[in-house]
């Protein structure tokens, strides 16, 4: 192969590697949150106060607190963390060999929180009725 051909092959390879259009990102098939992990959350049973006790203050809420939304950041196994607790303005939830924490606006000011590795992020949205009982909820994987 001549030097010119080699150069063309290299140029083509570099061009193609940069010009490819990867497919759309899909959520990972690896389930990180086992069903029992949020077993305390049940439609028609769980109350707003109960959710706040289990998960702390939501990331954000809407319509006067009728809808709670939690951004749950799952870190994977971290046996060294204690049970669920409020720490550094962030609510850490541990159990089933997993650790997750609830992201809040003030979490952005806690360098420790953003330095932690993360395996997945979930959006947990809870809709309550007028009496404060959970009517509907969804746990949706946001990343990755």
């Amino acid at each position: 192969m001549s030097a010119v051909t080699s150069a063309l092959v290299i140029a083509a390879a570099l061009t193609l590697s940069c010009a490819h259009t990867p497919s759309r990102l899909q959520p990972s098939a690896k389930a990180l949150l086992p069903d029992e992990w949020l077993a305390t959350i049940q439609d028609g049973v769980t109350t707003r106060a109960g959710v706040a006790t289990d998960l702390g203050q939501p990331t954000v809420w809407f319509e006067g607190g009728r809808i709670f939304a939690y951004r749950l950041i799952v870190e994977g196994t971290r046996a060294s963390y204690p049970a669920s607790e409020e720490r550094h303005g962030t609510f850490f939830i541990s159990g089933a060999n997993l650790l997750a924490w609830v992201a809040r606006k003030e979490s952005h000011d806690v360098p420790l929180v953003w330095e932690l590795s993360r395996d997945a992020e979930y959006a947990l949205v809870l809709v309550f009725d007028d009496a404060g009982t959970l009517r509907r909820h969804v746990l949706k994987r946001i990343l990755p």
Partner: protein
Amino acid sequence: MRTLAALAAAALGSGCLYVPYHAAVPGSRLAPDEQSLDVLRGAATREEVLLRLGEPDWAASRDRVFVYTWQSEWGTVLYASPYGGPAGVEPVRGRKHFLVLEFDEAGLLQRAETKTAFRTPAVQELLRDIDAR
């Protein structure tokens, strides 16, 4: 053999290495799937949107406007210059996508618009426009 030598020379001489991968930018989110976006085609309420898409990245105008953003990272470039020049690692990122949703006073979806921009100020301007209405 000559080809290998040419490849090696190209790799060493360029001082630049592209490591391709595909991931969401940290702090971003996966692009909403078609099934989730179906909610935008009907008379969706704020509640339905939240249940399909999760909490928005920004909310403005007393929750009348939701903005969802996502952005992909296509790889990393490692670069180094000879003779003490600059060296470093830079992520290669795609455009940032914005899904802007506007609700009426009753919480019904009135408008859904997807925007792509390299800079956030364009969307900030959009939010200011909506606030000013």
